[in-house]
Assembly symmetry: C2
């Protein structure tokens, strides 16, 4: 069925180069918490078009090296940050005739969350000019192409998932206190959360486990946790209620 003689002949004669396909790229919104702020990695474009402008990192599918789009995204991420196994998720695919001056162009937008502590290694492994910018600043820059829109979509997705999953766990370092975790949620959502309900939600979720170790600081020591078995992407039965702001 799948390999009739006629089909094989068709495929032998088929040459993709005879057909014009849209330019296809993978773009990445790579988030991390740095200095208590939600930051995104931007690169300064070293080639035309939009040379010199700030943009989300991204690039073309490498038909030889990438078996699928996720590998393209992973490869881009490793190239830019040196990070190997972040949280990585497809956000949306944007394709229009006008977004790239080279012609009809499609980008598959992903977002990645990386562990704050892993970020240190970034600068060293990066050749291209790249920098971490707070999402607020980044949203106000005039990014290359439609990247301002793409960034907004990625932030929306992160915010919305933060309301009904424990996704921000992917931003934490190996061990963390519940107060630290709550602060990260609050930074993302731009809202204060109730301590008791936050702790109940996380502790009951089974997504974190106690290390038995305590972090000694200025006052009462805080229990240190690590990520547990479950997927940080799994859904709570109810969303956090976001009122004001």
């Amino acid at each position: 069925m799948a390999g009739s003689r006629a089909e094989q002949q068709f495929l032998r004669r088929y040459d993709r180069r005879e057909f014009l396909a849209p330019l296809t790229t993978v773009d990445m919104a790579i988030f991390s918490i740095i200095d208590g702020q939600l930051k995104v990695l931007l690169v300064e474009r070293s080639n035309f078009p939009a040379k010199g402008e700030l943009a989300l990192p991204g690039g073309f599918v490498d038909e030889v090296r990438d078996a699928d789009l996720l590998e393209t995204a992973h490869r881009k991420l490793t190239e830019k940050t040196g990070i190997e196994s972040p949280y990585l998720e497809q956000v949306a695919t944007i394709g229009t005739s006008t977004r790239d001056p080279r012609g009809w162009s499609v980008t598959i937008l992903h977002f990645a969350l990386i562990d704050s502590s892993a970020v240190v290694s970034t600068a060293a492994s990066v050749a291209e000019v790249s920098k971490w910018v707070s999402v607020e600043e980044a949203s106000n820059f005039n990014l290359a192409f439609d990247h301002t829109d793409l960034l907004a979509m990625a932030i929306d997705r992160l915010r919305s998932k933060t309301r009904y999953t424990a996704l921000p766990l992917a931003l934490m370092s190996e061990t963390f206190t519940l107060t630290e975790l709550q602060t990260v949620f609050e930074v993302i959502l731009e809202v204060m959360l109730e301590k008791k309900s936050f702790r109940r939600r996380l502790l009951d979720s089974g997504l974190i486990e106690e290390t038995g170790i305590f972090q000694h600081g200025t006052h009462r020591p805080a229990a240190l946790f690590r990520r547990g078995a479950g997927s940080a992407n799994s859904e709570f039965p109810r969303s956090l209620e976001i009122h004001g702001s």
Copy 2:
């Protein structure tokens, strides 16, 4: 900034045909409720590859006619069904080196929900061989390419959204009774729902409004409703609890 002389020169010399881009298509899972079942529209492929096999409808971006991917999806939908304004949503983008024998290929998968009553007009306006198949059957067919996987993703998305939105409203005809609506939810979720909580949820949502008309059938007449102001895509604060199957 955006149009320096050097950049203009770069663009004048740039010829996309020199670069090989992945094959890019838009595929559609078009759902409707027919004879009380959730059905999906399948077409018999009239060309190689996979000629003669059943597949989700889809096709290439038309760089001249389509301003963006959503227009491509709308165009495909209108070509296949004659429907103009369905609910339409992007599900995911799948790109691998192996899914199409012609080479590295990307598809942007969408799903559409169309009004049961609109379906009647379908057969007439369609040249290609297409047919409505229950999702159960369709999932068991061996569809062309990776379309069995694509269909599963689209069904997953529909099921999951049915748990926390009123998306199935898009499947109803102009007016409908609450019992009919509940039955559609049940068909999609493959679970029985509690009448009282279902009605409360929908009535309190403001997503439907009474027509004041009653449907007289074999017994007590049922109030007829129509879709209201709000977006059927908006989220309830809690998901429906799905226990057993």
